[in-house]
């Protein structure tokens, strides 16, 4: 058991660090949840891809570096330590791409991945519906077979960044007569500017038009945009969900970077006699470190040939709660300035604590709510009986 990096690992880290130092914008980009910020972030994706840093773990043919999971973790640590911008293409890179690697055709990978890596096509995830959140399999939007493809109808909700994105991927009911709700679903991709698609931006808790409702009215999708077998969309979706909760959505780098900043803030701002606040800072540091080591252990398991299953639910609950406590603690440390929004003239200069806080509040809701994750942990990891959830 060791945590030693090889000279090759160190060289990779140094290369990433040098490149980021030379390219990370000197001033923060405007929020990616605004149209101006979205464009700036798209340009950043292009810059990343010119350095071949936008999707380091992908094969070289698709614009990646074929990096191991360990190198991916190293890259992410450097990325967040450098204060680089949030990733506007994350739905594509972290969710759709792994799904295509597992279930897509070679033609789909060749067509879709390079444009994703360069930021030319930004993807949105269109899973949830107004009546189907946690119980995703109850979804009602339909895909009906027509010559050469499918016609989509229905409504999708809470689709992150769909207000500005180019294309979406989602699940549709293609066999209404199937005996169980998980059967007869098909996984499809469609353009957000296609005929029949209406996008209605919805303000988030922070007021930004960062997600959208999608209304689909006889939207035609060709056969080449079905992922996996028609009718077996649930299986495809479950591999996406594993990625969403597990390693690829939340690398430890962002939490260790935030814990660094929090500690610096504590050293600068805190009343040393306030041991209650000190203990919360210490806990945030301890937990970000625990998350990092947990991830290294998982990376080692994967490198040794194991696969991570329901364990990804442990991750999901842990990082989402850690994210909130990191930000809450920072706002409390800031005292009266803790209520200032990031746009305020006197907002703290050391980072986006207010935006980060508001965003962190969504963590226990998206990517499968933490209640659902706890069910999975209890049933699949502890072996407790299934409850009334079907």
């Amino acid at each position: 058991m060791d945590l030693d990096f090889t000279t090759e690992d160190d060289a990779f880290r140094a290369e990433a660090r040098d490149w980021l130092a030379a390219h990370v914008p000197a001033r923060p980009l405007p929020s990616l949840e605004t149209s101006e910020g979205f464009a700036a972030h798209r340009a950043w994706e292009r810059t990343l891809s010119t350095g071949r840093w936008s999707a380091v773990s992908w094969p070289v043919e698709q614009g990646g570096r074929g990096a191991s999971i360990l190198h991916w973790l190293i890259f992410e640590e450097e990325y967040y330590a450098a204060g680089a911008p949030g990733r506007v293409s994350q739905n594509g890179i972290n969710l759709l791409a792994p799904t295509l690697f597992e279930h897509g055709s070679p033609e789909q990978r060749a067509r879709i991945l390079p444009a994703m890596a360069s930021g030319e096509v930004i993807w949105a995830q269109a899973w949830s519906e107004p009546e189907s959140g946690s119980d995703l399999a109850s979804l009602r939007s339909t895909a009906v077979r027509v010559a050469g493809g499918w016609l989509l109808n229905g409504q999708k909700a809470w689709s992150s960044r769909a207000a500005f994105a180019d294309r979406a991927f989602g699940l549709f009911r293609s066999d209404p007569g199937a005996d169980r709700p998980h059967r007869g679903l098909t996984y499809l991709m469609f353009p957000l500017d296609a005929k029949g698609v209406t996008v209605r931006p919805v303000g988030r808790l922070d007021g930004k038009p960062a997600f959208a409702e999608l209304f689909l009215d006889d939207v035609f999708v060709p056969d080449e945009d079905v992922i996996g077998e028609p009718g077996r969309g649930w299986q495809v979706a479950m591999s996406t969900a594993g990625n969403e909760r597990g390693l690829t959505l939340r690398s430890p780098g962002r939490f260790t970077a935030a814990a660094e900043k929090l500690t610096a803030l504590w050293r600068d701002e805190a009343d040393p006699a306030d041991t209650a606040l000190r203990d919360r800072v210490a806990d945030a540091v301890i937990r970000s470190r625990a998350y990092r080591l947990f991830t290294y252990a998982n990376a080692s398991r994967i490198a040794a040939g194991a696969s991570i299953g329901a364990e990804s639910s442990l991750n999901k609950v842990f990082w989402s709660e850690l994210d909130i406590s990191l930000h809450e603690t920072a706002l409390d440390l800031l005292g009266p300035r803790g209520e200032l929004s990031d746009e305020a003239g006197e907002a703290p200069a050391d980072g986006s604590w207010a935006d980060g806080y508001t965003f962190s509040l969504a963590g226990p809701i998206y990517a499968g709510t933490n209640e659902i994750q706890r069910d999975i942990i209890a049933e699949r990891l502890l072996g407790l009986p299934k409850g009334r959830r079907s």
């Binding site: 450097e78 080591l293 290294y296 965003f359 009986p385």
Partner: protein, 357 residues
């Protein structure tokens, strides 16, 4: 980088588990609490035979050198089985004497370490970092104390044969007493004593963290088994979501404490300068997780969990006692903040316009 137990290390844990299961450890724990140490000593001999005490004794004194990863694996098992006795203290005493030997003072090491490694000597230890009491001084063959570290170079390592009255702990299997000053012999007075004692306290905190993790794991394992079998409202209580979610949270706490315990072991193997902060982080996380597991275990067992007859009590009470042994949560948190946030493998402090979401 391979942050994973190797097959031998994992097998070592399984072997200890089998041995401690077969040995009817709960009976030894209860006897120990009643002051009858015979079964506990027999268990001690078997643990020594399995090699546990040799893991913190240098090879020159019949040990296996310092093997912190194996030590973590074994202390998780000792905690899972609620093994009684000054286990942590014997290991830490090994580190202390080994540290003196490394600095050239081999007399005490040669006299005591082979006996510690072989299990012949059951040793307790009192250091300033661990508070005023020595654990199980009444059962131990000898208690080591370090005193007089007020001025540099004046620290003195002594043995004490006597102790004050036994102070019951809220874990009946832990018996606390103040060592009596002035009894026994002086083993060493030198600047090396201070450094060796500091290292010993770190190892004691580390072994306690691993032991605590094991206590927490046992609490969850036992409670899951109970929740699968206990029926109320015509259904097993484990099917109730409120029950499931508490157990899921208990598991999350423990599963994220485990890598910190292993991380501390790696820091100790590398003699990293940051090991103190790593150990403190592990101690806090394991302590909080095991304590939360104890609260959950008690709640989900209902009244039967509140009875002394039922074995669950052996772990519930230990989880609380270990929280403050060898480093209170508050002292450990302060120590974490004195160290780097992301110790080697390193991430340099954030520069530039860090943006979090």
């Amino acid at each position: 980088m391979k942050f994973l137990l190797d097959d031998e290390q994992a097998e070592f844990g399984r072997t200890l588990d089998r041995m401690l299961t077969a040995a009817d450890t709960p009976a030894a724990v209860r006897a120990w609490g009643d002051g009858d140490t015979g079964r506990g000593r027999a268990l001690w001999a078997r643990i020594a035979e399995a090699g546990v005490f040799a893991l913190a004794v240098p090879e020159a004194q019949d040990g296996m050198g310092l093997l912190p990863v194996e030590l973590a694996v074994s202390f998780v098992e000792l905690g899972r089985h609620a093994v009684p006795g000054p286990l942590v203290e014997s290991v830490a005493a090994g580190v202390l004497l080994g540290g003196l030997a490394e600095r050239g003072d081999t007399a005490a090491a040669d006299a005591w370490l082979p006996r510690i490694a072989s299990g012949q000597a059951m040793v307790s230890l009192a250091l300033a970092e661990g508070g005023p009491y020595a654990l199980d001084a009444d059962a131990a063959d000898v208690t080591f104390v370090v005193t007089g570290a007020d001025a540099p170079g004046t620290a003195e390592l002594r043995t004490t044969a006597g102790h004050g009255p036994v102070q019951p702990s809220l874990d009946p299997a832990r018996r606390l007493a103040r060592p009596l000053p002035g009894t026994g012999a002086t083993l060493a007075i030198s600047p090396a004593v201070e450094a060796a004692a500091t290292a010993a306290a770190d190892w004691a905190a580390f072994a306690t963290a691993a032991q605590t993790l094991g206590v927490g794991l046992a609490l969850v394992e036992r409670t899951v088994a109970y929740a699968k079998q206990r029926t109320q409202f015509s259904t097993t209580i484990g099917a109730f979501q409120a029950v499931k979610h508490r157990l899921a949270d208990a598991l999350i706490g423990l599963e994220f404490a485990r890598p910190l315990v292993h991380g501390a072991a790696v820091a100790l193997s590398g003699k990293s300068a940051d090991a103190g902060a790593e150990i403190a982080a592990a101690k806090v996380a394991a302590g909080e997780a095991a304590y939360a597991a104890a609260r959950t275990a008690l709640q989900l067992h209902g009244a039967i969990g509140y009875t002394a007859e039922y074995d669950l009590s052996l772990w519930i009470r230990k989880a609380r006692a270990l929280r403050s042994a060898w480093g209170t949560p508050s002292a450990c948190r302060a120590r974490v903040l004195a160290g780097p946030v992301a110790p080697s493998p390193g991430v340099s402090p954030a520069t530039g316009p860090a943006q979090v979401p």
